[in-house]
Amino acid sequence: MSDGSLSGGKAVSRTTPALSLSTLRTHGGLIALLLILVFNALFTPNFLQVQTLFVNISQVATIAIVAIGMTLVIATAGIDLSVGAVMALAGALAPLIFQSEFGTVYPALGIAAAFILPLIAAGLCGLFNGVMISYLNVQPIIATLILFISGRGIAQVLTNGNLQTFSNPYFSYLGTGKILGLPFQGWLALALAVAVYWLVSRTIFGRYLLAVGGNEKAARLSGAPVRMVKIGAYVLCAFLSGIAGLIVVAINSASDAARNGNLMELDAIAAAVVGGALLQGGRAPIFGAILGAIIIQLVKYTLLANGVEDEVALIAKAAIIVLAVYIQQARKE
């Protein structure tokens, strides 16, 4: 099936090369989103309901937040496989902190610490990845593999592999709260996107980031602090993953280190690439990542709501990733 559509795409590109390929690249995401929305409106029962919107917003927020970080890393021509493990680690720490003796005696301080300390731990994971990659010159996929394996292990060691359940209205607000009737984490994802967009487009860090990804050697020769920029990208990515990990725990009022963030690296890479990030670096389309996250989530939802098994959804996701990267790669030629 995919083979047929690919050769079809090639045939079109031969007749009007510039038009079709560039349209697909620049508007492919929007076209895909439109198609999915129309399909759902026509065929998926109960799609046009507020409840469906809420479910999708709360699901898409975590993917989007991680995908923003992944976009920054991919912009440096890197990759971060450890995002899911970092989510599990941050998510495991939070309930441990506000359910500790200190947290129950000083509830306000406990909650504050339950937000801050896991995010610091997440940032340290990013620092580890960044130092491995920029100072020790380890390939990103291998360097982040280390935490991909052991990060979730550390989270499970901390919780003894147990599911931690809790009821804490303050912490749960992160997952269940609403502003103007819409889920809080949706607003949070939007705010983070705006902040990171500003960082990329308006600051020196952003300019260096794109320069490093575009041509690392040139960036170094022209005096960009290449190592610090790369470390910054991995720290931000891990920090955002930590936030996503806290959100998942807050939604469920439970922390499961074995499942929190499982396969998130795939969703985040897929969202970033669908959103227009180039794997060879040099571009950081932040709002593209949000669009990509929405598409990934809607595809999942569409398959699920129409009775397609979860397992088949994995195959569909694989096809989306390959297709999106293929379209992006065509840009080089």
């Binding site: 390939q139 291998i142 360097a143 694989a318």
Partner: protein, 330 residues
């Protein structure tokens, strides 16, 4: 004659001197185990250790070929889970069908990887990440997310549970054959030289007129086929096709390859050192199990993940040091 070279110790030490570390570590660990634990050198421990690790050794050999071209194959664990289900379904027809069937199913995923990487020019880790998802989904779909029992009446279970001439388990015999054949291909054929040349510089290999694409197809087919064989071992050894197995196997394989001195950037590598690397990793866990049994330490499965990551970290640090010093020297 290739055969005589195989047993030339001096040539072996010269070509493999770079990997002396892994051999020394392996021997040291074996001596440590022999001195510390009563049953370590017993036939039961040796046979069950090798039988269990045969899956990881064969996957590591396939991964070694992919990494030598500068690529990576993240799909091997899921593919092994998929082929264990295929082999379980084919088991009533006997080992003559189930073994090649499982290997071919694995090679089919290798072919998909090769198509995506060569024809569609998708980076190896993205392409194999996608087949990892597809194989996992495929395994769950065809098995209905259940373990599939093998046919106990057929001769299929002999593979994982019986021994050749009552001495060596069949899995080990097969792994040894695979290792010898692939070692010979790497060391003594133009295909093997091309695999190494691609990792050195793909552009230069193309300019020299080497059959780069053919060699790349070969390495992904080998990796997929090796994963397929591991799935067959899994089904036969445990009596069931297991769609949920294989998680993290790609990491064990990558770790074994790295421990075996193969550079992750490609261009250098050795089948024998990869086997030694896989044995070394397996031995670390074998020894941890003995310690657990003594009650001196108590390590949960979660700790094992942490230790595995820590081990990979140390090895990568050492390898980075090594390549850095060689670059300085060169």
């Amino acid at each position: 004659m290739p055969g005589s070279e195989a047993f030339d110790l001096r040539r072996f030490l010269q070509s493999d001197g770079r990997n002396a570390g892994v051999w020394i570590a392996l021997v040291a660990l074996i001596l440590f185990g022999l001195a510390r634990y009563e049953n370590f050198g017993g036939a039961y421990n040796i046979v069950s250790f090798l039988n269990y690790n045969s899956m990881f050794i064969v996957i590591s050999i396939g991964m070694c070929f992919v990494i030598m071209t500068g690529g990576i194959d993240l799909s091997v664990g899921s593919v092994a889970a998929f082929t264990s289900v295929v082999a379980a379904y084919l088991s009533p027809y006997g080992i003559e069908v189930a073994l090649p069937g499982g290997v071919l199913a694995g090679a089919a995923f290798g072919a998909i990887n090769a198509f995506c990487i060569i024809a569609m020019r998708i980076p190896p880790f993205i392409a194999t990440l996608a087949t990892m998802l597809a194989a996992k989904g495929g395994a769950l779909v065809i098995s209905g997310a259940q373990t599939i029992s093998v046919d106990w009446g057929s001769n299929f279970t002999k593979l994982g549970m019986e021994k050749a001439f009552n001495v060596v388990p069949w899995t080990i015999v097969i792994v040894a054959l695979v290792a010898i054949v692939l070692w010979a291909v790497l060391e003594h054929t133009s295909l093997g030289r091309t695999v190494l040349a691609i990792g050195g510089s793909e552009d230069a290999s193309n300019l020299m007129g080497l059959k780069v694409n053919r060699a790349k197809v070969f390495v992904y087919l080998i990796s997929g086929g090796c994963a397929g064989l591991a799935g067959v071992f899994l089904a036969s050894g445990y009596g069931a096709g297991q769609p949920l197995e294989g998680i993290g196997w790609e990491l064990s394989a990558i770790a074994a390859v790295v421990v075996g001195g193969t550079l992750l950037t490609g261009g250098l590598g050795s089948v024998t050192a990869t086997v030694a690397g896989a044995l070394l990793l397996g031995l670390v866990f074998n020894i941890l199990n003995f310690e657990n049994g003594r009650g001196t330490i108590s390590l949960s499965a979660y700790w094992q993940m942490v230790i595995r990551g820590g081990f990979l970290f140390v090895v990568i640090l050492l390898q980075t040091r090594m390549t850095a010093s060689r670059q300085k020297a060169g």
